[in-house]
């Protein structure tokens, strides 16, 4: 045990010396599963799709390949299961060169999810999902039992088993696509822009579902998208590729947002990367102001006495749920006359990004923080959120060396 640990440390030091970025790319405790080593893809006409790309893709995590069209992200994905053969370089899975195995055996050992699902339109939902188990020689009955199990896992109604793809919505089809990819329980899942063709609401629910499934199964997922928001939402690690198939940056989402490697990455992130980075900071330690929260029926003098001079106060019902804002000087106690309190944030669950957003939406500049049951815990203004951001950044910077893989705030 001690010996292997020692070797691991030496290996890490070695990797660190050769390529500092690659060394940082794999978080502690995660086995490198897919190793892309100096891989290039050049076509006969001279186009370079992928240019000397090296990536270490860890197990039990979602690695997102993101970039503009023509950056070689899909090509890279398809080289892993040899739908495209590299011109040079090597790809290893679990240490073994992917060329060592017959190509169809290799592909059956990796799940693949494609844009628009690519379901077999002539087969029922159940038989679509059972495809790979059948190819692996399972009996029809066992394959179908497994398929039914997976329908449940991806949140499909069992009544859909006998339906054909045309009878499903786009989102349902994509769920079937994910179930089909998981059917033979492969350790690796390759996903090629799987959620690009569905509407934003459905995409959101598919992303959440994927994160849930990943939490249960812990696959090595390689996910291709051109959407940076999607990459940030689902990725444990993000590889940003630039046109011409070169790696621009490979890091955790919050690191990419807070310190983009170069102007290309910065531009690709868009103009609001600072705000988006707040998605990774929790509202748990936000200092909420309780002095301006009063249950309905409180004494007016007490209100104007305790709250800061001239500031509006938040009135709650007897259970502590928010009712609305009031000016303690002029409010007559009529609940109907309160100013609406706007959307709230859930303390601990929502990120500072949500809290900041709520302060912007609030008529008073104060966002209402509630607990899981909707009871008011306090209010916070933009200055309070800003202070929380600064202290969270300081803490994060101090913690950075022994940082565990970033745990995302819910939204």
């Amino acid at each position: 045990m001690a010996g292997s640990g020692h070797r691991l440390i030496r290996l890490r030091t070695l990797v660190h010396v050769i390529a500092p970025r690659a060394g940082k790319a794999v978080p502690e405790g995660f086995r490198r599963l897919i190793a892309i080593e100096d891989v290039s893809k050049r076509y006969a006409d001279g186009t370079v799709a992928v240019d000397r790309l090296s990536l270490q893709i860890p197990d039990h995590s979602i690695t997102v390949l993101v970039g503009p069209s023509g950056c070689g992200k899909t090509t890279t994905l398809r080289m892993i299961n040899r739908m495209i053969e590299p011109s040079s370089g090597t790809i290893r899975v679990g240490g073994e060169d992917v060329r060592a195995r017959p190509v169809n055996t290799l592909r059956r050992s990796m799940g693949y999810v494609i844009q628009n699902a690519g379901l077999f339109q002539h087969r029922t939902v159940l038989d679509n999902i059972a495809t790979v188990p059948r190819l692996l020689g399972w009996s029809r009955q066992r394959a179908r039992e497994r398929a039914a199990e997976l329908m449940e896992r991806v949140g499909l109604d069992p009544a859909m088993a006998r339906r054909y793809p045309y009878q499903l919505s786009g989102g349902q089809q994509q769920r079937v696509g994910v179930a089909r990819a998981l059917a033979a329980d492969p350790p690796i899942l390759l996903m090629d822009e799987p959620f690009s063709a569905v509407d934003p609401v459905v995409r959101r629910s598919l992303q959440e579902e994927l994160l849930r499934i990943q939490g249960e199964l812990g696959k090595a997922i390689v996910f291709v998208t051109h959407d940076m928001d999607e990459a940030i939402t689902i990725g444990d690690r993000i590889a940003v590729l630039r046109t011409g198939g070169r790696l621009a940056q490979f890091a955790a989402p919050d690191e990419i947002l807070s310190s983009p490697a170069d102007p290309f990455v910065e531009e690709f992130l868009g103009s609001d990367r600072g705000i988006r980075g707040l998605s990774f900071l929790s509202t748990r330690d936000l200092e909420l102001d309780r002095s301006r929260v009063f249950p309905v029926g409180s004494d007016r003098r007490e209100m104007s006495g305790r709250a800061p001079e001239g500031a509006p106060v938040l009135v709650t019902d007897a259970d502590g749920r928010p009712l609305g804002w009031a000016d303690p000087g002029s409010w007559d106690g009529n609940v109907e006359a309160l100013e609406p309190y706007g959307p709230v944030f859930e303390v601990g669950r929502d990120s500072l990004r949500v809290a900041l957003d709520r302060t912007v939406l609030s008529p008073t500049g104060q966002a209402v923080g509630v607990d899981g049951s909707g009871k008011v815990l306090g209010v916070a203004g933009q200055e309070t959120v800003a202070a929380a951001i600064r202290s969270a950044r300081r803490r994060r910077a101090a913690d950075a060396p022994q940082e565990a893989p970033a745990v995302k705030a819910g939204r």
Binding site: Y112, Y166, V202
Partner: protein, 236 residues
């Protein structure tokens, strides 16, 4: 109706017998044409450059009158049914090869990519994915080929009574019995319609996975546009 089904004995067949001969001479060539078109169509899809010259050749063959074919073929195959069926088979290719090609091309790109990514080999992909999805296009081609073949068989009457129901046309002239000609034409037309209906039925049986078209679309519980299905999706 007198004389309609009363076939002169020199044709050596009853009314039913003539129908059987006619069907055999019409359908066997189309079947052979289909068996030929399936691999040829696949080759045309895999090697795109083959398609244009093949289509061109089959169109030229189609333009050659069957009589001309008979003249050439009689030297080799004599005054037999085979002499009639060979040109019919070649004619069917002009419809069937494009039908197979269109059918295979109708398989969506992502379906092919998904099949390949799941480790489904080329032969298996052709038989288990592409052909089933090509069924609607292929049956559409078959319907045209069969109808044309059923009508063309009658020309065989010109080479020693090898024209099935078409033989009634020459006999009608010979014996001055126009009713036999009417019988020939009507029966041929009815046969063509019946076989066409059977092909439509066959397609329905083979493709339960196709969305019901037109007015039937509202029947199915959850088409992609169905608001109920959509809401369920959003809620989950």
């Amino acid at each position: 109706m007198n004389g309609f089904f009363d076939i002169p004995s020199d044709l050596q067949h009853s009314y039913g017998g003539l129908i059987a001969v006619h069907m055999q001479e019409a359908l066997v060539p189309v079947l052979a044409g289909l068996l030929l078109a399936l691999p040829v169509g696949l080759l045309c899809v895999r090697h795109g450059w083959l398609y244009a010259p093949l289509l061109w050749t089959s169109t030229v063959l189609y333009a050659i009158p069957s009589i001309a074919f008979f003249v050439v073929l009689i030297d080799y195959t004599g005054l037999t049914q085979l002499t009639v069926m060979i040109p019919l088979c070649l004619y069917s290719l002009v419809v069937l090869v494009p039908a197979v090609v269109d059918g295979i091309r109708s398989v969506p790109e992502e379906t092919n990519a998904a099949a390949s990514a799941m480790g489904i080999g080329l032969a298996r992909r052709y038989l288990q994915v592409q052909l089933p999805i090509a069924v609607p296009a292929i049956t559409a081609g078959l319907r045209v080929a069969v109808a044309s073949s059923i009508s063309l068989v009658s020309v065989g009457a010109l080479i020693g009574n090898q024209g099935g129901l078409g033989n009634l046309l020459t006999t009608a002239q010979l014996y001055g019995r126009p009713r036999l000609a009417v019988s020939s034409v009507v029966t041929t037309a009815v046969l063509a319609i019946v076989i066409d209906a059977l092909l439509v039925l066959l397609r329905r049986v083979l493709t339960p996975w196709q969305p019901p078209s037109g007015r039937a679309a509202g029947r199915s519980g959850a088409t992609p546009a169905d608001p109920a299905a959509h809401t369920a999706e959003g809620a989950s």
